[in-house]
């Protein structure tokens, strides 16, 4: 298996301590990257260094560590702003993760825009985190929950989407990349179509953030949400980008701590952006880890990573096609590093257990996206998903395991 590689994979792998272990006495193969990625040494060290030397509660503290921590935290915010090319770090809100970001929006943007009889539009391939918050908002407000259909190939039915836009929903919220099908949605086009009616568009970028360069100004999306832990950063931090005009108009989501300006028994006024949306002691260690992850990604290069992952995906698709009875769920024209499949009548849980015993981590089940399971009339899928550190050899091991499971189970 020799291919021209855009960077030194072996060197990159060495940066990820978790990859270098045996599972059931077999070399560990990690293909559950859409669930969470492993962390490079620099990220782990950054978190450690914070707790060993720098730890303090930031903002409002006059003492040295608190000042230094505040500066580091706000620098990290700027790093995130640059990473996705947002105009200002005021547009960057730190949250717990994508789910937290989406709930913030459903609550706060929902309060601002959605009234009885209005509607909200999502697609049929959303992760529950970008589906249920909007659905429940609609239930609460007696609004209509519109769901754009999905084609047999696993792409958004753009005709249906356009049709639903004519109902002038107050908010559109769509996944950039499906965590089940791997589909890269044509969000530039979808945003443009929604903006014809001046509808704000929320992008769930959980799966796209480490698959391609994101430029929120070029996309012209109104909001963009992602999780640190899916882009080589620590758990417990996510980002919500929002255009300043929206964030300014929106009411706060949670109350307490830094987000407060003046409090008296009778009334309370709130802080400016971005603090208005950050209640409570922030997870500084995770934010600094996220900054390290961004630097790590940028050192290798977004474009190189995307190119390499594309090679992996093409190779995996080609090798998996050898498996008798395999059926890919979703055959999108543009696919990011996720492949879902089934083999004949084999239950994905059965196959998953056997593949696990061979030291390989894939995910089985509905991947928190039951509507798309319903769409395809299946209980779940097997899903392999790739990161910058995966190799062609690992795909070979994985395909051999799939074949073995298929034989055992049929």
């Amino acid at each position: 298996m020799e291919k021209k590689l855009p960077f030194d994979i072996r060197a990159v792998r060495l940066q990820f301590p978790a990859l270098d272990q045996l599972v059931y006495n077999k070399p560990f193969v990690y293909l559950d990257n859409a669930a969470t990625t492993q962390k490079p040494r620099v990220v782990i060290d950054r978190v450690k260094a914070w707790y060993e030397l720098e730890n303090s509660n930031i903002h409002r503290g006059v003492h040295y560590l608190s000042q230094q921590g505040t500066i580091a935290f706000e620098n990290a915010r700027q790093t995130v702003a640059n990473f996705i090319n947002s105009k200002s770090s005021r547009e960057i809100i730190f949250t717990k993760g994508t789910t937290d970001s989406m709930n913030l929006l459903a609550s706060s943007l929902g309060k601002l825009l959605v009234k009885e009889g209005d509607s909200v539009l999502v697609t049929g391939m959303e992760h529950h985190s970008n589906f249920v918050p909007w659905q429940q908002l609609c239930v609460e407000r007696k609004a209509n929950f519109l769901v754009a259909g999905i084609t047999e190939n696993g792409e958004v039915d753009l005709d249906h989407y356009t049709e639903l836009l004519e109902k002038k929903p107050k908010i559109v919220s769509i996944a950039h990349v499906s965590n089940v099908l791997g589909t890269i949605n044509p969000i530039e086009e979808m945003i443009r179509l929604a903006h014809v009616y001046d509808i704000p568009v929320v992008i769930d970028g959980a799966q796209s953030i480490c698959n391609q360069k994101i430029d929120v100004q070029a996309l012209d999306c109104d909001f963009f949400a992602f999780s640190g832990h899916k882009m080589y950063a620590p758990m417990g931090v996510g980002v919500l980008f929002g255009k300043e005009k929206w964030l300014d108009a929106m009411p706060p989501y949670q109350f307490g701590g830094e987000m407060v300006n003046q409090v008296s028994i009778d009334e309370t006024s709130f802080n400016v952006l971005p603090f208005k949306f950050e209640a409570g002691t922030p997870n500084v260690s995770a934010v600094l880890g996220l900054e390290s992850a961004i630097n790590f990604i940028e050192t290798i290069g977004n474009v190189s990573i995307a190119a390499y992952k594309d090679q992996l995906i093409q190779y995996a698709l080609q090798r998996l096609a050898e498996v008798k009875g395999i059926k890919f769920i979703g055959n999108p024209v543009h696919r990011a590093s996720v492949i879902s499949f089934l083999i004949d009548e084999i239950h994905p849980y059965d196959a998953g257990m056997i593949i696990d015993k061979l030291g390989i981590a894939i995910r089985t089940g509905h991947h928190c996206a039951q509507p798309i399971m319903e769409r395809f009339g299946i209980p779940g899928t097997m899903r392999a998903s790739f990161a910058m550190y995966n190799t062609f050899e690992e795909i070979d091991i994985f395909v051999a395991a799939v074949k073995k499971a298929a034989i055992m189970l049929s």
Binding site: M353, I354, T364, M408
Partner: protein, 145 residues
């Protein structure tokens, strides 16, 4: 055969396997073989929802003995379902209530009954015990009447 004896028998059967593959092959065979529930009971009423695989369980009681039948949509799960039925079905509520599932530990399948698996098996065992309890109550009531 008592519950304890069946368990020992199963432990014996599994003791000849050298590795997990042989064990799983055996479970798969057992899972494939048996239609262990009547179709009329394979409905949502009898469904135990695991997130990963689903289990249907039906129980009946003739005044002395509990009969279980069950099924699963995943074949390895069904293999274990089959073991559980073989062990517990055909015994009195008392016997069922005082026995446990440690035989699964001994044959190296304990992990399948872990609450983290969400394959329906742990709930199935709980449900079987619950049935036994209800049937015991019923039987006692009838005696007292």
């Amino acid at each position: 055969m008592t519950i304890e004896q069946t368990q020992q028998q199963i432990i014996g059967e599994f003791s000849i396997f050298d590795d997990w593959m042989e064990k799983y092959n055996y479970l798969i065979e057992m899972g494939k073989d048996c239609p262990i529930i009547e179709t009329q009971y394979k409905t949502n009423n009898y469904l135990i929802n695991g997130c990963q695989s689903r289990v249907w369980l039906h129980a009946s009681f003739d005044g002395n003995i509990v009969h279980f039948s069950a099924d699963s949509d995943a074949v390895i799960t069904k293999g274990i379902v089959n073991l559980l039925i073989r062990v517990f079905s055909g015994h009195s509520p008392e016997e069922i209530l005082k026995s446990d599932t440690t035989f699964l530990d001994q044959i190296g399948l304990k992990e399948h009954l872990s609450p983290t698996r969400s394959n329906g098996l742990l709930s199935m065992v709980k449900q079987m015990k619950l049935y036994a309890q209800i049937f015991q109550l019923k039987a006692n009531q009838q005696v007292n009447e």
